[in-house]
């Protein structure tokens, strides 16, 4: 399967868009390399702001730029933006209704052996509790492009988390990708797996393995964590009778939390929340960490089978 990093897709797209639209501004914090901004800073210096290692100020200055009509994309490690500048995102971006998109790069456990300081495994929990903030975790480069295109047309306050590494391209085009609308794969009735980010790919792998055993599941790509596509959750809960959530995030307060808040209060079905347990993860590569926690195709397939047993109890 062909792969592309979401950061790569974004930077190529924003360079072209910014050449046409002089109000586009890209802000970064000594992160132009890891954000894969390429030639953007040199080609469009008037539409680029380098803030140095200062995430709080970067977000606040972005809010000020937006107040004068700029369409601002501020990029840096998800780990630092979602925690160190969470207050600036809450106050200056979301509460102040500024048209700023904070793109948390190298999210989740992308940094691998760099460890707990660099992992962003609480960002969904922090960000989705903020009123008026859209929260996106695209699963592939196509989704990243489609979401960016939508953000360029609308004035919104948004947090996007993307990974560092290339991920398989799941969508041929962005036709059916819209903020707030989940993408559904397959129509199995044994279980539904609701996933986000690169975990969607793991869910699709699990679906393939399970199919060989005669188990048919639905996979939901819930790229928008907020506003949550509750219609989709309701329909798969009805169709499948049980839901497993899958995310590269703490099992507390993330996608699993968001889905269960809706399910328990509206359409209770057996659920399993899968992600990173409440601990600091061992050092290792991203793939090793996923395998350790059973967040690969095989591990997910196993978890789904256990959930189906629960459903039939």
């Amino acid at each position: 399967m062909e792969k592309e990093a979401c950061s790569n897709a974004f930077s190529k797209m924003i360079l072209e868009e910014a050449k046409r639209d002089k109000d586009i501004m890209v802000v970064c914090t000594d992160s132009r390399g890891s954000a894969k901004l390429g030639t953007y800073p040199d080609e469009l210096p008037e539409q680029f702001v380098e803030m140095g290692i200062a995430e709080q100020n970067a977000v606040t200055v972005s809010a000020g730029l937006s107040y004068i009509g700029k369409k601002v994309f501020v990029l840096g490690p998800a780990s630092f933006y979602s925690t160190r500048s969470s207050e600036q995102i809450k106050v200056d971006v979301a509460y102040s209704k500024n048209n700023v998109t904070v793109i948390g790069i190298s999210g989740g456990v992308s940094y691998g052996a760099l460890g707990a300081t660099h992992h962003s495994l609480q960002d969904i929990a922090f960000m989705r509790a903020i009123p008026n903030l859209t929260v996106e975790i695209p699963s592939d480069a196509t989704q990243m492009r489609a979401i960016t295109a939508e953000l360029l047309k609308a004035k919104r306050s948004t947090y996007i988390r993307i990974g560092r590494n290339p991920v398989p391209i799941l969508y041929a085009n962005g036709e059916n990708i819209h903020i707030g609308k989940a993408n559904k794969w397959f129509a199995g009735h044994d279980a539904a797996v609701i996933a986000c980010g690169q975990m969607v790919c793991k869910a699709l792998e699990a679906a393939k393995l399970l199919k060989n055993e005669g188990i048919h599941i639905t996979v939901v790509d819930m790229h928008t964590i907020k506003p949550l596509d509750i219609d989709m959750i309701k329909s798969v809960a009805e169709e499948c009778g049980c839901i497993l959530t899958l995310e590269e995030h703490s099992i507390y307060g993330g996608l699993g939390g968001a889905v269960s808040e809706f399910v328990t209060q509206n359409i209770p079905v057996p659920m399993k929340i899968c992600g990173i347990p409440d601990e600091n993860v061992p050092n290792g590569t991203e793939a090793e960490i996923f395998q350790y926690y059973g967040l690969d195709g095989e591990g997910v397939a196993e978890k789904v089978k256990n959930l189906i047993k629960e459903k039939h109890k």
Partner: protein, 276 residues
């Protein structure tokens, strides 16, 4: 430069704003009175000096003002009301359930440019606005008023670095330097001195003035230095004009008694009589 008549007029206006601010706090049952009163002369100066039009609050050529010390909003609301940005009846709802005007300003209030209240945000916001204006080749100026205790927030110092880097010579930062914060003296809580040298070291054109002297305030507001943002350290008296509150940290947030309000009214009436 201001002539004697202009100064007298401003001093009369300030005494009235002070009186109305204290009355607003008295009626609503609480407010950040100390910092409200230390900033009165700075705020009156800004409202007289800046390019703005209450009939056209979003005028594209206006100067921008951000009250970073958002808790000192009662003086701001009083001025917004006096200048016709907001209705007097709205002012009377201050602090009540569901009112648009609460203990910190927000952009839904006509004339307010930023949601403030959490300290250490105004300088960054003002810098972003100033940078966007520069990139758009616009001539508007941006003014931001911070407290002095507020400068304990590290985000201010990040903002100073970036304002200097981007040569924001369309930005004026004013510090309401009353030397007090809620727990006591700023120099005891977390020493700030020597603030002027600090601002200069960060790349600002800095001046220190008497923040209650209109001649000095206006001359500082007119400072322009190519390639450099301006810092005005305005030495002020917390609780200024309300004699029982002057220079007292325990008046950071307080409600005056009826008697204290009456005394202020008497004092201000006498003050105006002396001036005229």
């Amino acid at each position: 430069m201001l002539d004697k008549e202009q100064i007298k007029k401003l001093e009369i206006q300030a005494s009235e704003i002070c009186e109305k601010t204290v009355e607003l706090i008295y009626n609503s049952g609480g407010g950040h009175i100390g910092g409200d009163l230390s900033e009165v002369d700075i705020m009156v100066s800004l409202f007289n000096y800046m390019k703005h039009d209450p009939k056209n609050p979003k005028w594209s050529d206006r100067d921008y003002f951000i009250l970073s010390k958002g808790h000192s909003c009662e003086t701001y609301y009083t001025l917004l009301s006096e200048y016709g940005y907001i209705d007097r009846r709205l002012l009377e709802t201050y602090g009540r359930f569901g009112s648009l005007i609460g203990g910190h300003p927000n952009k839904n209030i006509t004339g307010v440019e930023a949601n403030t209240g959490s300290l250490g945000h105004g300088l960054g916001l003002a810098s972003g606005i100033a940078l966007a204006l520069k990139r758009n080749r616009k001539e508007n100026r941006v003014y931001v008023l911070t407290g002095d205790g507020e400068l304990g927030e590290g985000s201010n110092w990040e903002a100073l670095m970036s304002a200097a880097k981007y040569k924001l010579d369309n930005l004026t930062w004013i510090v309401d330097r009353n030397f007090l914060q809620i727990s006591g003296k700023t120099e005891t809580v977390m020493p700030l001195e020597n603030l002027k040298e600090k601002a200069e070291a960060f790349g600002f054109k800095a001046v220190e003035i008497n923040g209650h002297n209109y001649g000095q305030i206006f001359s500082a507001l007119s400072i322009r230095e190519k390639g450099k943002p301006v810092c005005i350290i305005a030495d002020t008296v917390k609780g200024k004009r309300l004699s029982c509150a002057e220079n007292r940290a325990d008046w950071h947030h307080k409600t005056p008694t009826k008697k204290q309000l009456e005394q202020l009214k008497k004092d201000m009436a006498e003050y105006r009589k002396e001036l005229t």
